[in-house]
Symmetry: C2
Subunit: 298 residues, 2 copies
């Protein structure tokens, strides 16, 4: 599980590493950015450094959030590393949306394992994000690196990536895979909104309600039992152009009613904010504090 | 002097305004972004809000620094507004580099008044940045706005924009136009480096040494007398790929020897940093503090 270091860039007190590696599960080369905070480079601080996985939204590569979300200052502040994976497989032999739309295919992998042709060969993003990538990073950096890619980790993301964060957290909740989960303007009920319906039809098949429900946060909250007092933090801008069509956070809150998640998912509606990195970067500090608490850093 | 508000985007505690206006001096429509900090929107705080002009580098539009330099959190922190102008005129009738290179013509106006054909009609960036734009913004926002675009203002910038900052500050020093000046990886001696020689030849003519010297910071420090104890702050990354060819900060320091600026220009060489917004965003907090002190905010 070897990575190629394409670039190593100083930022804040640490470094952004632009990596690529061949994913066995995806069957293609994948890009991923990692931010190692100043604590990683400290010769005196040898505490284990938790990792937060940040899943980006439609069309993004690992670069967008690395450059615009400004997690780095928070990573240095609290002492966690960041991993910014890609949003889909890429490459000449990776099938794209037939009409090259931006909401399906390349740049829009929806963090699930496709079961339909021609996507199922490469679009195995769920297994890649939640299994192969963390294991590969752990092997690559080595057990002596004081980076904890596998155990004390959190997950977050934006839009399609917020959906990926919620889904990954809930589907792996019983295994205690992620200690912390948050999301920025997530798709919360993909089975009921256009982006999700298009993606699920294409990747999972249009007549497969049971499989759809396994990837739908608003269905998962009904099945997964919140055993402790685990909370999820969500921010949503009121001027987000996708709020009424594709995001609809009220559907998730309604779904939790009468379940173990009722009152455990906080959706903060923030006045005047849109769907851009201006919105994300504004609330990254609050999410960083939320994760830092859950990861035992404060 | 009217502006069109193309977008108004919430970020941090304030808003980024994406504006455009017709510049009489340039003879074309110009884009400019303005960040108004939370203090502007406060109904109780009515102190005059100073403005910092940020001049971007080669190829940039007003968007790059607005999205990636992360000045906003500092603006809110200290209570100054930001102005992000464009780097050149744009439009179908604006002449570009004959070979469409990225270091001359559109996206590369060098913040000077061109005297040569075909550039002199539109490339009047010096008068635009230091005269028309601030006056127009002052008129547009009005005297009751508590924004100070004209008097208690600072200037900074990156690369070509760092050059623009140094040049604008020094050429207007006797008029006390800017109260504060800094630069990120600036071109300090354009007459002696490839980027500068190409730009000066094209915009000012290749046989015009006297005019070149009027736009060269390393010449201006010999003529302009530092009357007080004014200081300039510069950061420069050691892994900047343009350090040895086009930036060469040592030339500015050599030029100040025996002048009133000797010891007043601090060039901080920062280990491992490159020429990107990762570098800029890392040192924006230090520049913000520097300007906030000079503008009387702390």
């Amino acid at each position: 599980m070897s990575f190629k270091v394409n670039q190593e860039i100083a930022v804040c007190g640490g470094k952004v590493l632009k990596l690529s590696h061949f994913s066995q599960i995806i069957g293609a080369s994948m890009d991923v950015n990692v931010y190692l905070p100043k604590q990683y480079y400290s010769k005196t601080v040898r505490k284990l450094i938790p990792v937060i996985y940040y899943l980006s939204g439609l069309t993004c590569s690992p670069q967008n959030a690395s450059e615009k979300a400004f997690w780095q200052i928070q990573s240095d502040n609290y002492g966690f590393a960041m991993v910014f994976p890609d949003t889909s497989p890429r490459g000449d032999d990776v099938p794209d949306d037939p009409e090259k739309a931006w909401d399906f295919g390349i740049g829009a992998g929806f963090y699930l394992n496709a079961t339909q042709e021609p996507y199922k060969k490469h679009y195995q993003m769920y297994d890649y994000i939640h299994k192969e990538l963390p294991t590969s990073l752990d092997e690559y950096f080595g057990k002596d690196s004081n980076l904890d890619f596998l155990d004390n980790v959190g997950i977050t993301g934006h839009s399609m990536g917020g959906y990926g964060s919620l889904t990954g957290f809930l589907k792996n909740y019983d295994a205690n895979r992620y200690k912390s989960c948050s999301a920025f303007a997530p798709i919360v009920n993909p089975s009921k909104v256009p982006w999700g319906q298009k993606a699920f039809s294409g990747y999972l098949g249009s007549e497969n309600a049971e499989l759809w429900s396994q990837y739908d946060p608003s269905e998962l909250v009904k099945k997964v039992i919140n055993k402790g007092n685990d909370k999820i933090l969500i921010h949503q801008g009121t001027k987000d152009p996708f709020l009424q069509t594709n995001l609809r956070p009220e559907l998730l809150l309604e779904a939790t009613k009468g379940t173990s998640w009722e009152g455990k998912i906080e959706v903060k509606m923030v006045d005047g904010f849109d769907h851009s990195y201006y919105f994300i970067s504004t609330f990254v500090p609050e999410h960083a504090t939320f994760h830092a608490k859950n990861l035992g850093l404060i």
